[in-house]
């Protein structure tokens, strides 16, 4: 990965996470001021902190890159990048296994929930997504 690409990607992450954080925060403000009760409104405030923290971490990374450009090398080194990709692929495999076990466990423990509860559908959808998303992304990257 080139230096420019990494900086561009980090900037994109910052803007996207800030936008998500702002949307969640604005939702909380609107719901609080209008007195609308949509689940627990505080959840929106709490959720807005997650993307905000991600944006903060990314901006710190960007600052570090600008201050110490030599640090960039460890981020763009093909060996390090390959190692990171391999670690991520193994993490995905482990998560797929966990999702499969969750789905299997849920189906056997609560057979009455099959095709009925939202939890069962979510578990099945996430499992299928984790299985087919790699093919989807490979196709997108190819084109």
């Amino acid at each position: 990965m080139s230096v420019e690409k990494l900086v561009k990607e980090t900037k994109l992450i910052i803007w996207f996470t800030l936008f998500v954080s702002l949307v969640l925060f604005a939702t909380w403000v609107v719901l609080e001021t209008t007195g609308t009760f949509f689940i627990n409104n505080k959840a929106f405030l709490a959720l807005s902190l997650i993307p905000f923290s991600a944006a903060l971490a990314s901006s710190l990374k960007l600052m570090k890159i600008r201050k110490h450009p030599q640090w960039m090398v460890s981020e763009t080194d093909e060996r390090v990048v390959a190692e990171k990709n391999e670690a991520e692929a193994k993490t995905l495999k482990a998560l797929q296994g966990l999702l499969f076990l969750s789905y299997l466990g849920y189906t056997f423990v609560s057979p009455e929930d099959i095709f009925q509860s939202i939890g069962w559908w979510i578990t099945l959808s996430v499992l299928l997504f984790s299985l087919f998303a790699p093919f989807l992304f490979r196709h997108i990257l190819k084109s």
Binding site: S74, E78, R79
Partner: protein, 64 residues
């Protein structure tokens, strides 16, 4: 298998591992791993190393 050709070429060019790493845009550890034969570099990195050390791919990476 160790790649002694790179090490010899690097020493001949009077370039340290750290300097070579900075010139080709990788970490010193990567150069060390290539020289010790524990990492298989991409063609892109091989050509970058060759250019810096003023050698051909055959000179540094061809095994008889």
């Amino acid at each position: 298998m160790k790649n002694k050709k790179i090490k010899i070429a690097r020493v001949e060019a009077d370039v340290s591992q750290e300097k070579l790493a900075a010139m080709v845009g990788v970490t010193r550890q990567t150069i060390n791993l290539i020289e010790s034969g524990n990492y298989n570099p991409s063609l892109k990195l091989c050509t970058a190393i060759c250019k810096v050390l003023n050698k051909t791919l055959d000179d540094l990476f061809w095994e008889e």
